[in-house]
Amino acid sequence: MVIEVRNLLKRYGELVAVRGLSFEVKKGEIFGLLGPNGAGKTTTIRILMDILKPDEGEVKVLGRSPSEVKEKVGYLPEERGLYQGLGVLETLVYFAELKGVPRSVAKERANSLLEKVDLLDRAKGKVKELSKGMQQKLQFIASIIHDPEVVFLDEPFQGLDPVNVELIKGLITELREQGKTVVLSSHQMNLVEALCDRILLINKGEAVLYGPIREIKKRFTPNSILVKSPQLPPIVKGVQAVTRKDDAFLLTLAEGTSPQAVIKALVEEGVELEAFEVAPVPLEDIFVKVVKEGRHSALI
């Protein structure tokens, strides 16, 4: 395991920000750390980055205490920025040197990353001369300039246009392909869904949902199918209810009935089928539902 967290507890005076949190992150996966505002995500990440100390519990990153592995970990905080008066290349070299990278290696790596995000021609310019989107890209590459084993990305897509979102998505996927571990915190559920292998949803400092995205979605998917057809018979075998949904019909299946059996029945009855699919549940709906209901799940 790359990250191991056991019974983590963090208080700010009377307020308990993180309450008995336990989870693990495997090597080479993109792990989503999700939750509404004030859930304790940033506090958890700050503890994993050794910026804050836990009150109770055990935290290990790469098998060691977070303070011992700072040079192997990258961090893009939610509250982030750059020295506006400093040069672009100078900024990257300084951040790399702080991570223990020799100056010459840092320059080489900075140039290569700048090229990857189309900023090489700005290397000698000042940070303040860059647009907001360019600065976001610079911040992203600053978090991986030292070739870390683990990267924590807190809202990496904030303020980016769709083109740059795709670019950063590509870079995150590339990190996974290189065997790096990524912990991603974001409110953009479609992106989390597209990128993450597993997620941890926390609410009010506690874990409420934890496990592989596919299994979580499967678990929350209602037993229903979406059928596109001009006309449906009034009664279909194994179907409890039929409701109109835009230009399709949502069929709620009776317990023990499989979607395949219903499709077979429709075909046998001669129903003209234009399209059909198992009704999908977006991660966002699961997020809202779990947070609103305050549900706990031990799904692993």
């Binding site: 005076g13 910026i51 982030r80 702080l98 911040q139």
Partner: protein, 416 residues
């Protein structure tokens, strides 16, 4: 603490700050003003150069021409060495006329009963200030002594009686060795303590300004969190304190050297004065300077990181700076007696001890109890300042947007 990280931060802080236009302008202002002053002086026909001497002459009265009406006969004829400034007149009327015509600057009337009561009259134009100033003039008194003793004692004794003493200050240092004598006596007594204490206070003021500005900017830029993900808050704090301390020291040194450089030979005098101190005292001065600066810098950085605006941080830092400058208020008394009770008490208080000891050490033999005690207190205080500064810094750098209440700070400190 990883020194390589600290060194990276020191370099970054120093290089980026000395390149700032604000720093360059502020650093250049003092030498520029001094240069302008020098040029103006040179243009004014060496007026500045002679100003000091002119002032001395004015108060001493050596440039004055005085008409003398001798009612006793003791001053007639005038001794040759006084003929340049004094002119005898037969009567008061004649002397007054010469005064009105501007031939003399004042008239001295010595009545016939002068020997009995010592009273003379001085008639001057305008105010009576010049007449009063003459009474304290060594040169004017010498005129009377020389004439009264004429023919009664040896001429050399008469001259000595007219100008009896010129003090050459000397201080008995360690092992009975005389220090600070000769022409550097006055410099030794006054400039070294003033210079060192001034340097400390100025460095604290200037560096704290850069520290607060740097921390406020990094909080505003949101860079702080990225940096503390790479280095510990203590490493960042030490790097900032040393780096920005060096920036402040650079500025103060440029200011002082430029000012001294523009005054003829003052640098050389100061250097010679410094070397006239025993090495042990010099070493102590450096230790007090470093301890003093470090204590103030760590506290200021910690407190400064709690503020959300530059103004808030500066207000608190201003109060701290007042402690550093406090011994200046006692400087008059300290020159007379460096081991005053109040000075000794303030030498044991961490915030006043550095400046106070910088004042006292070059002036006299300071009791070893004071040195050992204040060094012990300062060393412990430095550890305390680093501990508290680091705690406040750790909390402060993550606070954005609103200023925390004292209760919140206390709760966070307790839990960190």
């Amino acid at each position: 603490m990883r020194l390589s990280k600290v060194w990276t931060i020191i370099q970054h802080e120093y290089v980026t700050n000395v390149r700032r236009p604000g720093f360059i302008i502020m650093t250049a202002i003092v030498p520029a003003l001094a240069l302008i002053g020098l040029l103006v002086g040179a243009y004014g026909g060496g007026l500045l150069k002679n100003m000091g001497q002119s002032l001395v002459n004015f108060f001493e009265g050596t440039s004055k021409r005085i008409g003398v009406v001798d009612g006793t006969g003791l001053f007639t004829p005038l001794l040759p060495e006084y003929e340049g400034n004094f002119t005898l007149f037969g009567g008061e009327e004649e002397a007054r006329k010469a005064l009105e015509d501007g031939k003399v600057d004042a008239v001295l009337v010595i009545p016939s009963d002068y020997i009995e009561n010592g009273k003379v009259r001085v008639i001057a134009k305008g105010s009576s200030f010049e007449a009063v100033a003459l009474e304290d003039s060594k040169w004017f008194k010498g005129f009377f002594v020389s004439h009264l003793l004429r023919g009664k004692v040896e001429p050399a004794v008469s001259r000595r009686a007219a100008d009896p003493v010129t003090i050459q200050p000397e201080v008995l240092g360690e092992k009975g060795k005389v220090q600070g004598g000769g022409p550097w006596g006055i410099l030794f007594t006054f400039i070294i303590p003033y210079f060192l204490a001034f340097m400390l206070v100025m460095t604290i003021f200037v560096s704290s300004g850069y520290l607060l500005q740097g921390i406020a900017e990094e909080k505003e830029n949101r860079v702080m969190e990225i940096i503390v993900s790479s280095v510990s808050p203590l490493e960042l704090l030490v790097g900032k304190v040393v780096g920005l301390g060096a920036v402040g020291l650079t500025q103060v040194l440029v200011w002082l050297l430029s000012l001294l450089g523009f005054t003829s030979g003052a640098v050389m005098l100061l250097t010679i004065s410094a070397f006239s101190l025993p090495p042990s005292t010099l070493l102590l001065l450096v230790i007090y300077y470093v301890l003093g600066f470090a204590i103030y810098a760590f506290l200021m950085a910690g407190i400064g990181s709690l503020g959300t605006t530059m103004r808030e941080s500066q207000q608190v830092a201003g109060i701290l700076s007042m402690f550093a400058a406090a011994p200046y208020m006692l400087s008059g008394f300290l020159m007379a007696n460096p081991n005053l009770t109040i000075a000794r008490v303030l030498s044991f208080f961490p915030l006043t001890a550095p400046t106070m000891m910088l004042f006292r050490l070059p002036l006299a033999k300071v009791p070893w109890v004071d040195i050992a005690g204040s060094l012990a207190i300062l060393s412990l205080s430095l550890l305390g300042a680093i501990w508290l500064g680091e705690k406040l810094f750790r909390v402060g750098i993550l606070i954005y947007g609103k200023r925390p209440s004292w209760k919140e700070i206390w709760l966070i400190l307790r839990s960190s």
